[in-house]
Amino acid sequence: MSKQTIISAKHLKKSFGSKENVQTIYSDLDIDIYKGDFTVIMGSSGAGKSTLMYSLSGMDKPDGGEIDFDGTDITKLNSDKLAVFRRSECGFVFQQIYLIDKMSLMDNVVTAGVLKSKSKEEIRNRAKELFSLVNIPEITWKKTPSQISGGEAQRAGIVRAVINDPNVLFADEPTGALNSANGTAVLNVFTSLHEKGQSIVMVTHDRKSALRGNRILYIKDGKIFGECDLGKYEPDNAERTEKFEKFITEMGW
């Protein structure tokens, strides 16, 4: 069965800096993201992984090219339309988490939820389900980000990201600021969501995190340099891990 493309980007261009000091991130990049996939984008520091992810999600505008996101060319949307587009199509998980200070975890989630649903009751009920899914106990829902651990905060960040049932969940180094135990807990949530059919695009340079994906893309020299299909995540599948290691070694990791 062929995969359904949810994002298709063609001839993407992006560069930073002034005229005298232009740094081209990518100049003619094509990429497809498939529905239901857990796509991991890897690459060395400065390769443009996050830049690409943010372009695909409508957070950042590429300098050129087209991005067809489930039938919509998002490069043609203005910033307000992009915001409306993101609220229904995308969820975001950031390395620095970025929950709103002094707002409880529940309110952080509701703040995102009200953008799509008018009923706060519905949002709260859905949030409760998701908090349970990511193992955040009820006693913690009313706490503010500064009162909980980084792992709990990031899992709450995931709940906020998926409260509106996005088509694609984007994650930028979601375990980058967490210790090993908290990182694993967060990755388990991603795996769990993927198993339930959630499309995920994750940028990471962490092998352990990357192994959670079923499709690995390696970006180098402004292009998708290589791609590896790892198949479904299985924690103790040595063959799968070996395939991944071989791939990234070939990519020059």
């Binding site: 910033s79 915001a83 993101r86 609220r87 970025y98 200070d101 002094k102 703040t111 995102a112 953008l115």
Partner: protein, 744 residues
């Protein structure tokens, strides 16, 4: 709004302390603004209502009864614009009221028959069935300022004879009623009036009271009346009109409204700076969070609304509360104003004032908050999250500089007012009044030279000057004339343009005549049946006579009138009471009567000092509150932003005290420099402000002394207070620990 409400409520909760402090400032703005507006909307309206209720005449003309004839009435009735004329009898005397606020009070007084039937100039009288021949009813102004009460007694000194009366009641009238109108009423029951008129038959007058058409030209009608009288060789004792009376009686109210509105505008300006600072500060502090909000689907408009609404909402709530609270203060303010206006009213809830008080500040707050937040629109979520969005300054130093300048303007104005009322009261009185001697002696004209010589030989006397206030007529009515032997010797030079008269054919006219009589033009004056033409040499100010005054030399006045028989005596020391007593005993043959002007001036100062002290206290309280609230917002914001930095400093060994001093000294120099510069600039802007404010009530030449010393003292006090408050407000720095930062 529903989608934004969560963010709005969160913002309100998150920094509620700052919204409360912001709300307090706005509340204060609204309170002061509402007082000013209610006074503006209701005082003049109340004045007009009472004016109409009492069917007060638009113009009143007083002429000696012996000059009256039956034809005058018919001729006045024919004047275009006159709709009704009514004649009243009266007795016009130069009276001195004894024990008026513990002094003698000189005022031309017209005594009327209280029981005379009248359609115009009706009187609102408190009933007293026990009238007798010694009962008098006094106008409200005398009760309020003079300290007289119903049932008490009052003594009038007329033609050198004292007569005591029982005060039967208080009269509300809108014809006279104030020192500033130059005339005041006295009201006697029929029997008492009859014997009074008999006793002072030479002073009996006829009053023609005119009601005019709604849009009639009062000046033209007065001209026409003057012409009729002039043709008959009649000199009007007084012509007053509703506009001049209203201006004089509402003078302090107008002054208060101007000061309060200016004050509210300054506070509002600082509040706007404050809200702009907070919003810019919030954008800087929460850049990443705003980026995340945009990432998860909030539009720029929604985030801007979430930043602007809390200020707008606080503005609405605070202005409503401020406006409502002002009604607790308004009766007190109205009572203070009654002392000067001579009529009372109770301020009531004013929808229009509330509408303006809520709408104007709220709109201004919304507008400036929106302009401060507008950069959120341009904020790209990815740049915000990465922290590469442009970081501009929060305008903290601009806010502090603006606050310092604003507060210094208030303090300088209040301090200068206080200094010129309390320390140098002559400056204040000279601005609002005319010549202020220690004593005025009245003498027979032929005894004047002798009395003058005696006084000149007295080593307690600094100066003796022939000076008098007289009544003269000109084409448009009557003028109060200041007659002096040598205006070069007067102590209060009220000439604000040109010069005072020197020759016998010269005259300086009041500001009310300045438009019609340019310097160099001629004006014809008449008194006692004689007329003379004088050349205008300059303009003089007069608050108390609504600018309808003139200066004539003694020789100039003698062309149309007899000698004034009045000497101004200026003493080295404040011994007027004893001095008068001594002269009345030892020179009984020379002195007819005397006025303790020193005491009178003191009473005037007391009256104005009362009003001024209210204004000054309000200004000081407002200043301190503003400093406190603005510093609270700035320091709170600063501590919250530099929390991590302070934790690091503590980790490497800095104490809380060192960090507090370091923080405070980081911005106090801005306050100090701004205050210092503002103090020095005060030498320029304070005279401008004082002139602008006081010229509204006719005091064109401002005698206020602006002392750089006082201004610098205020600048130092202000800086010191700001420093102390800052140290106190920076106390939360103590709670920051290096360990807590690690935990965060």
């Amino acid at each position: 709004m529903n989608k934004t409400s969560t963010l709005v409520i969160h913002n309100l909760k998150k920094t509620k302390g700052q919204y409360i402090s912001f709300g307090l400032i706005i509340c204060l703005t609204a309170l002061i603004m509402n007082i000013a507006l209610v006074l503006a909307f209701q005082t003049f309206h109340a004045y007009d209502s009472l004016f109409l209720e009492l069917d007060t005449a638009d113009i009143n003309i007083l002429i000696p009864q012996f000059q009256d004839d039956d034809g005058i009435m018919a001729e006045i009735e024919k004047i275009d614009g006159v709709s009704m004329v009514e004649k009243h009898g009266g007795v016009f005397v130069a009276a001195t009221v004894r024990e008026f606020a513990d002094s003698d009070f000189d005022m031309n007084t017209v005594f009327y028959d209280l029981d005379e039937a009248r359609t115009l100039n009706r009187l609102n009288v408190s009933e007293n069935p026990e009238n007798d021949e010694n009962t008098v009813y006094i106008p409200m102004y005398m009760k309020e300022l003079g300290g007289f009460t119903e049932g008490g007694s009052i003594t009038y000194s007329i033609d050198g004879k004292d007569a005591a009366y029982k005060i039967g009641g208080i009269v509300s009238e809108m014809q006279y009623g104030n020192y500033g109108t130059g005339l005041i009423g006295g009201y006697l029951p029929a029997a008492a009036y009859e014997s009074f008129a008999k006793e002072h038959s030479e002073h009996v007058i006829t009053e023609y009271s005119l009601r005019t058409a709604r849009n009639a030209d009062l000046t033209q009608i007065k001209n026409d009346v003057s012409e009729i009288l002039s043709d008959k060789g009649i000199t009007a004792l007084n012509i007053n009109d509703r506009a001049a009376a209203k201006q004089t009686r509402t003078m302090v109210c107008t002054l208060l409204i101007i000061i309060f509105l200016a004050l509210a505008a300054i506070i509002l300006a600082v509040s706007i700076f404050l809200s702009s600072f907070r919003i810019r500060s919030t954008i800087e502090d929460e850049l990443a969070q705003m980026g995340v909000l945009k990432a998860i689907g909030y539009t720029g408009n929604m985030i801007v609304r979430s930043a602007v609404w809390p200020y707008t909402f606080s503005g609405i709530v605070a202005t409503v509360i401020g406006a409502v609270l002002s009604y607790a203060a308004l009766p007190g303010v109205a009572k203070v104003l009654a002392i000067q206006s001579g009529f009372t009213y109770t301020p009531v809830f004013d929808t229009a004032a509330l509408f303006i008080v809520v709408l104007v500040p709220t709109f201004v707050i919304f507008l400036f908050a929106y302009l401060s937040a507008v950069k959120i629109y341009k904020l790209e979520p990815i740049d915000a999250i990465r922290g590469v969005a442009g970081k501009g300054g929060t305008g903290q130093n601009i806010l502090l500089a603006a606050l310092s300048v604003g507060i210094m303007v208030l303090l300088s104005f209040a301090g200068t007012l206080l200094y010129n009322v309390s320390v140098k009261p002559d400056n204040f009185m000279d601005t609002l009044s005319e010549e202020s001697p220690s004593v005025i002696f009245m003498a027979q004209n032929d005894k004047m030279p002798e009395l003058k010589e005696v006084l000149k030989d007295d080593d307690r006397v600094k100066l003796v000057l022939e000076y008098a206030s007289v009544s003269v007529s000109y084409a448009d009515g009557s003028l109060t004339g200041f007659v002096c032997e040598d205006f070069g010797k007067v102590t209060n030079d009220i000439c604000y343009e040109g010069r005072s008269p020197e020759g016998e054919d010269e005259i300086a006219v009041g500001n009310a005549l300045a438009k019609d009589y340019p310097i160099g033009s001629k004006i014809e004056l008449s008194a006692s049946g004689s007329s003379e033409v004088y050349v205008v040499t300059g303009y003089i100010q007069s608050v108390n006579h609504a600018g309808k005054v003139c200066q004539l030399t003694s020789k100039g006045y003698e062309k149309i009138g007899e000698g004034t028989g009045s000497l101004n005596v200026y003493l080295y020391d404040k011994i007027a009471g004893d001095f008068i007593e001594e002269y009345e005993e030892e020179h009984e043959d020379l002195v007819i009567s005397s006025v303790n002007y020193e005491k009178l001036s003191e009473n005037g100062r007391t009256m104005y000092a009362g009003i001024v002290s209210v204004v000054v206290v309000v200004l000081f309280v407002v200043s301190i509150l503003m400093v406190l609230l603005v510093l609270y917002v700035i320091i709170h914001s600063m501590i919250s932003r530099r929390r991590q930095e302070f934790g690091i400093y503590k980790a490497i060994g800095y104490t809380s005290r060192q960090l507090t001093i370091m923080t405070v000294t980081g911005f106090i120099p801005v306050v100090a420099v701004s205050a210092g510069v503002s103090a020095v600039l005060g030498l320029w802007y304070l005279p401008v402000i004082n002139n602008e404010i006081f010229s509204q009530i006719g005091a064109i030449k401002n005698h206020f002394e602006v002392s750089i010393g006082i201004l610098l003292v205020f600048a130092i006090i202000f800086t010191a207070v700001a420093f102390v408050l800052s140290v106190l407000l920076a106390a939360p720095i103590k709670k920051i620990t290096a360990y807590s930062l690690l935990k965060e």
